[in-house]
């Protein structure tokens, strides 16, 4: 049975964000989703707030938007509603890719059928998977475009990693990585990237084969960095840590939108194999060194500093971004790359102040809730 792809308007976009729920005395993760969600359900919101696998996590799903400023506006309303509700319950909300010091066996699985199934299947991985990511959806009009974009966005994955990185600490240690969250993802059997299929039909055949083996039941079972999302008619970039502010989350989405626009306009047809030969290396460089990582170009075989590549790309995309209304978003990212600041660097600087991870989390939650718009 061919996998049905629900078409959507090209270059519309939206985001999903997984957020931490914290107590306000030790700033450890707290059980709170079950108290926050019913209170939010009573409010009219520009998007959805849903439970995630553990009770210390909630997920925002934004509405579908066309423009950066509209999406940002929605996200700010959602953020304020969640923070306000949590505040009344004496809970705090924060961004960041992983909690710096929580113990995974303290987590409780949110009591729904699917989460119980996942927990049973993956055992301790499911609880260790208490990590917090951002997913960016970009709408595509043709299913073949979804396959095309999934491949051609792959070289830009390191950019998203370096910009969003906000999980330097894990289980109470500085991991020396810019993002430690991605290790938790890699432990799952179907992580990595999509195989080198070229059309939607080829992809459908691949999916049927995997379903025939009984390995997958739905697209949800693939934990790839980028994957087509036929139910929404989008491609989904799943590599980002949840940033420390909604502003950055929306800027990253705008970057993905602009990249997609450029790739659809200037079609690439280089072979896919070299692209995936260097993929793992480049991804590791970004996770470990962030802006300072070294990227390998698959076709020219040249090496370049991640930051240089990112800045060059942002500059090249400027006209496209301006057409989409995302110019200011890309400028903000450019400033980040120039100054080499991301969430992880900010968190490490916070830690230097008084060597308390609890205080780092407190400042994260403060930053999430109150950072002024720039």
């Amino acid at each position: 049975m061919p996998l049905e792809f629900r078409r959507s308007d090209a270059l519309t976009f939206g985001i999903e964000l997984e957020l931490m729920v914290l107590n306000t005395h030790s700033y450890d993760l707290a059980r709170g989703a079950a108290d926050i969600l019913p209170r939010l359900a009573k409010q009219e919101l520009p998007g959805e707030v849903k439970p995630e696998i553990t009770e210390s996590m909630i997920e925002i799903n934004s509405r579908v938007q066309r423009r950066y400023d509209a999406l940002l506006e929605d996200l700010i309303v959602l953020r304020d509603a969640i923070v306000g509700t949590a505040d009344k319950l004496n809970l705090a909300i924060a961004g960041g890719g992983s909690h710096p010091f929580h113990r995974w066996n303290d987590r409780r699985i949110f009591p729904t059928e699917r989460f119980r199934h996942v927990s049973e299947l993956y055992g301790y991985l499911a609880k260790q998977f208490t990590v917090f990511g951002q997913h960016i959806h970009v709408g595509v009009a043709q299913p073949d475009d979804a396959v095309y974009l999934t491949h051609r966005l792959a070289p830009f994955i390191p950019h998203f990693i370096a910009l969003s990185a906000a999980s330097p600490f894990y289980q109470g240690e500085d991991t020396s990585f810019e993002t430690s969250r991605l290790h938790a993802v890699s432990a799952f059997p179907l992580s990595g990237h999509m195989p080198e299929v070229r059309t939607w039909d080829e992809f459908s055949a691949f999916f049927d084969e995997m379903a025939g083996y009984g390995i997958v039941k739905s697209m949800k079972d693939f934990y790839w960095d980028i994957r087509p999302k036929p139910e929404y008619g989008t491609i989904e970039i799943r590599i980002c840590d949840t940033p420390l502010t909604v502003d950055l989350a929306v800027q990253l989405a705008a970057y993905a939108q602009t990249l997609a626009a450029d790739l659809l306009l200037n079609r690439r047809d280089e072979p896919l194999e070299p692209l995936y030969r260097v993929y793992g290396y480049n991804r590791f460089q970004a996770c470990r060194f962030g802006f300072e990582g070294t990227l390998v170009y698959p076709y020219s075989r040249k090496q370049v500093r991640l930051r240089e590549d990112l800045l060059a790309t942002l500059e090249r995309l400027r006209p496209t971004a301006n057409d989409l209304g995302a110019g200011s978003a890309l400028l903000a990212l450019e400033r980040m790359a120039e100054n080499q600041v991301n969430g992880s660097r900010w968190m490490r600087e916070c830690y230097e102040r008084n060597h308390s991870l609890a205080d780092v989390v407190r400042m994260q939650s403060e930053r999430w809730g109150t950072v002024p718009r720039t």
Partner: protein, 415 residues
């Protein structure tokens, strides 16, 4: 040969020996309770109830007086922890929480006060007893939340409300004692006013001083949790000593110390220390001695009134919580859970009654038996109520057997 190196007969029982026996017996009693699927506290208290008469038979003075320093230290740490968990800003943000707290304290006070006056006790004594009955045992609450690993709105709210009713009760007791002095000995009015004022302001200042001092030291020592734990334990003990020296009640300065030591945006000098490692030892001491201080035999005559007192108290608390908690958006199960979690009475009430009795001997003579009878009932019922409350609210780890770590979470839930 003169065998002077041998102990002289008859052997004199020493306190270290008694103390060791008490601890080990407590541990075993707790595990026995566990085997019978009861909260461990029940085991500790029962061991105390057995040891109590034994010490009397062996002509050892009341354990509570002899081991008061351990009780003070243990309760001091519990109150400090309680103060640290109390969040006044939360009460400002969610008015329903403060309203629930004031209502449950007032209603339980009123119920017990009316009952005791009706029973013919003097208003001042009835007021003192009602004020003590207003408190929720923080030791039982914190111990049970550790044991059941309970976490969530009901647990947090119960801890905050226990801190609030402890605070209100100790202020009220201070005021009532002042008026009792005034009525009894026709002291000058100034003393009747100045004494409570001194007790209150002095306690808060002592708490503040200890917190500031602790922060200063914390900044200059290694930031590891065992160093900070030792620092806190030392400062809490010192605070207990200072409070006694300054003739202040122990409860108020320790609560204040905890509240001022809370980390917030102003400073994060003190690590959050986990009391659990030595917590077990302190809790056992606390509960065994509390049990040992409840004379089983002398209470039979007062059990009736004691029981009614406890019922009035619980009715007051429950009514207030069921009315006000839902206004803060708590679900029905959560409100019931919260009401149950607020019921225990234990060491804090015992110490308060004991100290009031020393300042005001006729209180002990008149109301002592009734109060202790009520306390005895709550000592047994309280832990069950808290456990039931946390479970009904859905905040405990699904299995209480302690084996959940070895299994996937849902394997436990499915049973």
């Amino acid at each position: 040969m003169n065998p002077s190196f041998l102990p002289s007969m008859p052997l004199a029982l020493s306190y270290p020996l008694l103390f060791g026996v008490l601890l080990v017996a407590g541990v075993m009693g707790g595990e026995l309770a566990r085997l019978l699927r009861l909260p461990r506290i029940i085991g500790y208290v029962v061991v105390g109830l057995i040891i109590g008469p034994l010490t009397t038979a062996m002509h050892i003075g009341p354990l509570l007086d002899q081991a008061r320093i351990f009780v003070d230290l243990a309760l001091g740490l519990v109150l400090f922890e309680l103060g640290r968990r109390m969040d006044l800003r939360w009460m400002r943000r969610d008015w329903s929480l403060a309203a629930t707290g004031i209502a449950e304290a007032s209603l339980s006070f009123a119920a017990v006060f009316v009952l005791l006056v009706y029973e013919g006790f003097s208003p001042v004594k009835s007021g003192l007893a009602a004020a003590i009955a207003m408190t929720t045992a923080p030791s039982v609450l914190l111990f049970m939340s550790h044991e059941t690993r309970s976490e969530g709105q009901v647990t947090e709210r119960a801890i905050n409300l226990a801190a609030l009713n402890g605070l209100i009760a100790s202020v009220l007791i201070t005021l009532l004692l002042g008026s009792a002095h005034y009525a009894r000995s026709k002291l000058e009015l100034e003393i009747a006013i100045l004494q409570p004022l001194y007790l209150f302001v002095g306690s808060v200042l002592l708490g503040l001083f200890m917190a500031v001092f602790t922060r200063v030291i914390a900044r200059s020592i290694e930031r590891s949790s065992d160093m900070h734990f030792t620092l806190v334990a030392g400062m809490v003990t010192a605070a207990v000593g200072l409070a006694t020296l300054l003739k202040l009640p122990v409860i108020l300065p320790l609560l204040a110390f905890g509240m001022f030591a809370r980390n917030d945006e102003r400073g994060h000098d003190l690590l959050n220390v986990n009391l659990a490692p030595v917590g077990r030892l302190l809790y056992i001491v606390l509960f065994v001695i509390t049990g040992a201080s409840l004379p089983l035999t002398g209470l039979a005559a007062s059990l009736g009134v004691g029981l009614v007192l406890v019922l009035a108290r619980v009715a007051g608390k429950t009514a207030a919580v069921l009315i006000f908690a839902p206004l803060g958006g708590l679900r029905a199960r959560q409100a019931v859970g919260l009401a149950l979690a607020l019921t225990p009475m234990s060491t804090l009430a015992l110490l308060m009654a004991h100290d009031v009795g020393q300042l005001f001997p006729s209180f002990a003579a008149d109301l002592g038996p009734v109060f202790l009878a009520g306390l005895l009932v709550m000592e047994i019922v309280g832990p069950f109520a808290v456990q039931a409350g946390f479970t009904i609210a859905g905040e405990t780890v699904p299995s209480l057997t302690g084996r959940y770590r070895a299994m996937p979470a849902d394997a436990v839930e499915r049973r």
